[in-house]
């Protein structure tokens, strides 16, 4: 990749990150979900699951980590649509090497943002929830590769979704299927207690596998009994997430190029006119 793309992309990513953590509205977003999840965890801390061997809170904490990582997909999608609407993408197109640098910048700012969000949640959570393998370096290593692979699987798909939606308003349509996907993914309640067809469906999406990967990292080995097939299934995790990653990485450049090709001053003005009409 070109040197300018890396330099400019890095500069974009760092600037956007700084903006995101020095701005009231964004800071609220960074803290809202982690704090809400901490409250959920706090309320769950004494609820036991099944025959009382595990606290539900302990099972849920790693799942929440996985879910938050998967949400990078939604963030990416929303940012892309917003940037198309306000002309940031068109500006990138009018600049030499602008579009690839824009993408590099987005990937940096979104993924570092996610890692910070995870820390905002995880660090206080460790004080609420006992029984996690926080002392083991192997646990952190697993957490690391699951997170990286998870981002590679979800960010390109997010970019594809962002290119498909033409306005920030229509982005709202995405919320419902995402909520449904999270609901069945075994994040808040072990997937093995759900009907089998739901289990099958859950295993299609990356959220389930990110949750499973995080549980395999942080939970003691004995907790494996609540999982499908009583196994952590690392191989399958890598497999499914890789398929999502490949699909995303193949589709994203095609869809993005198609979208960028259609951008021009008049298409942007037209979109704005439509948006204003809806308001008026």
């Amino acid at each position: 990749m070109n040197k300018t793309v890396m330099r400019a992309g890095w500069s974009r990513g760092v600037t956007e990150l700084r903006q995101s953590f020095t701005n009231g509205g964004d800071l609220f977003n960074h803290f809202f979900w982690p704090v809400l999840m901490l409250v959920v965890l706090f309320l769950m801390r004494d609820v036991s699951f099944g025959d009382g061997e595990f606290e539900l809170g302990t099972l849920v904490l790693p799942g929440i980590l996985g879910m938050n990582a998967a949400m990078a997909m939604v963030t990416m999608s929303q940012l892309l649509t917003a940037d198309r609407e306000d002309g940031t993408l068109l500006r990138a197109k009018a600049t030499p090497h602008g579009t690839p640098a824009y993408l590099v910048g987005k990937i940096i700012s979104v993924s570092v943002g996610v890692v910070v969000d995870l820390a905002i949640f995880l660090i206080p959570a460790l004080f609420i929830i006992p029984g996690l393998r926080v002392g083991s370096s192997e646990a952190w290593l697993t957490l690391g590769w699951v997170l990286v692979l998870g981002l590679v699987a979800t960010l390109p798909i997010g970019a594809v979704l962002g290119s498909l939606f033409s306005s920030t308003r229509s982005q709202g349509l995405l919320t419902l299927p995402i909520m449904a996907m999270i609901g069945i993914s075994g994040i808040f309640y072990p997937v093995t207690s759900m009907p089998e067809w739901v289990q099958g469906l859950a295993q299609v999406f990356p959220v389930y596998w990110l949750g499973l990967g995080m549980r395999s990292a942080l939970l003691p080995d004995s907790a494996v009994i609540v999982e499908i097939g009583d196994a952590w299934r690392h191989l399958e995790t890598v497999g499914v997430l890789s398929v999502w990653a490949v699909v995303g990485l193949v589709l994203a450049p095609i869809v993005l190029r198609r979208m960028a090709r259609r951008e021009s001053g008049s298409t942007m003005a037209e979109r704005r006119e439509k948006a204003l009409q809806r308001v008026g």
């Binding site: 040197k3 300018t4 330099r7 400019a8 500069s11 974009r12 600037t15 903006q19 701005n23 940037d83 306000d86 002309g87 940031t88 068109l90 500006r91 197109k93 009018a94 600049t95 030499p96 090497h97 602008g98 640098a101 960028a260 090709r261 259609r262 951008e263 021009s264 001053g265 008049s266 298409t267 942007m268 003005a269 037209e270 704005r272």
Partner: protein, 317 residues
């Protein structure tokens, strides 16, 4: 201003069709290095479409287009680095600070720096040039309309382009902001030797800023020349008003001075209230556009816009 022989922009037989609507029928134009030219025309005449084709943002239906020696439909990053674009309205990067944004966008142009043209423009010098030094640390979205417009120009020229496109740069500016903007464009043309192509609705602006005016109407360039040359083409239909024996007269004549002389020679001192109004650019413009639209309908603006939205692959890169 030095006008060299080098052709910067060369368009021959340019056509653009959206569905069944032909917006550009046969556009021919040529711009030389260092020129400041204006594309003038009624709403929906295809000014923005023409500009977008030249900027490489839209694929044409037919014709030959060369911008800085390259077909803009296939212009790569090297070509992009030499072209500056200021669209009608930008709202991007609202969260960035003014200086921060200019410094960032400069990064992209550093690799195109040459001995003749040092790229990019230093952000502080650039801020001074467009008169935004006091706003350097302001967030972009907090700028006023005039300041935002000047920032757009700053972004357009941060890579020291050889050719700059300005699409209705002063639309919506108050008289003071407009004047400041004119000064900026004049300085760019004089000091930076930038070739500038701009569109406008403002005839005085066209006359004031540019060496050459091209009138686009009915999908064709119907007139091309300096403001004076265009006025001559309508062969001086100056308006002469006078009173004689308590009656007023109005007459449009080609040679008004001679006509007045004849008038005095015939009637002597009994001629009163003599008034001669030279053809203005506005008269010329209106009469030219009337002539051309009398022959063919102009395309209504929204028809062109709506058609562009669903024309598959109608745009480039």
């Amino acid at each position: 201003m030095t006008t060299h022989e080098r052709v910067v922009l060369d368009v021959e037989g340019l056509r653009m069709r959206y569905g069944t609507t032909e917006v550009l029928k046969d556009v021919n134009l040529r711009v030389h290095h260092g020129e400041v030219v204006c594309l003038l025309g009624p709403n929906g005449a295809g000014k923005t479409t023409t500009l977008e084709i030249l900027e490489g943002f839209r694929m044409r239906s037919a014709g030959r287009v060369e911008v800085l020696g390259t077909d803009p439909a296939h212009g790569g990053d090297d070509w992009r680095a030499r072209v500056g674009v200021v669209l009608q309205s930008w709202r991007d990067h609202g969260r960035w600070r003014v200086r921060e944004l200019l410094a960032h966008l400069g990064i992209y142009y550093a690799e195109y720096s040459t001995a003749q043209i040092r790229r990019p423009w230093d952000p502080d010098e650039l801020l001074a040039a467009v008169g935004l030094t006091a706003q350097a640390d302001k967030k972009v979205r907090m700028l006023s309309g005039g300041q935002r417009r000047r920032l757009d120009v700053a972004v357009g020229i941060v890579g020291r382009p050889e050719l700059l496109f300005l699409d209705e740069p002063t639309a919506g500016l108050d008289p003071v902001a407009r004047r400041e903007f004119h000064d900026l464009v004049e300085r760019l043309a004089d000091e930076q030797d930038t070739t500038i192509v701009l569109t406008t609705h403002d005839l005085h602006e066209a006359q004031k800023l540019t060496n050459r005016i091209m009138i686009l109407s009915g999908g064709r360039i119907i007139a091309d020349g300096t403001a004076e040359e265009l006025a001559e083409r309508i062969v001086g239909e100056d308006e002469v008003r006078w009173s004689h024996d308590g009656q007023s007269y109005v007459r449009s004549v080609p040679e008004s001075t001679k006509f007045a002389f004849e008038l005095f020679r015939k009637h002597g001192e009994s001629i009163t209230d003599l008034e001669i109004r030279k053809t203005t650019l506005e008269d010329t413009y209106l009469s030219l556009v009337r002539q051309s639209t009398g022959e063919q309908e102009t395309v209504p603006e929204d028809a062109a816009g709506a058609a562009s939205a669903d024309s598959e692959g109608g745009t480039v890169r």
